[in-house]
């Protein structure tokens, strides 16, 4: 398969993740959609690496994975703190800064 197919697939997966972030209300699900977007980017990076015939894209994908892991750890800790204070995992309830 040509790398273009993989890049189109990555585009579709990225969009699914973006729509999920817009549509869903549960914080954990929104986080999972962000992970889906990061994964789609990784797929594009790997496809680019194959297209160019070198490994730089794979290294970038590797770094994206590391940053995503750090992001998930901090994000879930924030989520736990919010849940402890407000007893809710819905993004609609965390609107204190609005008023």
């Amino acid at each position: 398969m040509s790398p273009a197919h993989y890049i189109f697939l990555a585009v579709i997966l990225f969009t699914i993740g973006a729509v999920g972030v817009l549509v869903r209300r549960n914080v954990i699900v929104i986080f999972m959609c962000v992970e889906l977007m990061l994964n789609a980017c990784n797929l594009a990076f790997v496809a680019f690496a194959r297209m160019h015939g070198n490994l730089d894209g794979q290294v970038v994908a590797f770094f994206v994975m590391v940053v995503a892991a750090a992001e998930v750890v901090v994000g879930l800790a924030i989520l736990m703190a919010i849940y402890r204070a407000r007893r809710s995992a819905s993004v609609d309830d965390a609107s204190l800064l609005k008023y």
Partner: protein, 283 residues
Amino acid sequence: MSHLLAAGGGTNLDADYSVAFFWILAVLSVGAGIAMICVRQAVHCALLLAVVMLCLAAMYAMQGAPFLAFVQVIVYTGAVLMLFLFVMMLIGVSSTDSLVETIKGQRLFAGLAGIGLVALLIVGIGHAAIGSAPKPGALQNADNLTGLAKLIFTTYVFPFEITSALLITAALGAMVLAHRERTSPKPTQRDIARRKIASGQVAPEPPPGVYALHDAVDMPAMLPDGSTTERSVSRAMAQRDIDLRRDPRAEVAADLEAEAKVAPELPAPAQVEAGAHGGSESE
């Protein structure tokens, strides 16, 4: 996958196989992704995300990135998703999304924006003339793992060091955020005993299901005075009964009624009664 590893990089899959695998995995991952943003239960979302991630891992392997394929399975599907499920268990599995739209027409506009983004990106990439044939280069010559290690520890050594700082910061941040400062002194055994006496309930809560006719965990316990107590049933079980549209109280009432009808014909109804009360009094 073993022959992919032996090839050390480039895809030596048969072209037909590669096309078939791509389409199977593409349909599977897009289907699981769409289902992920549609299902209401957060746990189902996590499982569908695992499907997407495993599909992507297989695609990495097909594209000559066996190291990334394994990292994907171990780090993403193993660690990150497990972390998600862990937090989900802490927050409550039953937390489902409400179907009420807070902003009117939000879903419609989100869908339109998604379609627009896909169209924009596909047209943009379609114009960008992507080379169809992968060039035989470092990917085919060098071993994938050795090549990656060389790149990470030579060209990308500075970002790699920064990454370690990032990971330590993330670990510290998670510890700080998850840590709760104790605002009151830790209660001693004496305090706990005093509070218990003051609350009026000295004995432990009655366990569920010590009713003479039922011993299911969703059945409320019978108190010595013959009444039932809702406190003996776990909130999770009560919620499950509501979800399954079951009413244990109605069952208890129906059973008592049936027993009252049968009781006059039985030779010794007093024993049943005594057993029921004896059972509840003994605890």
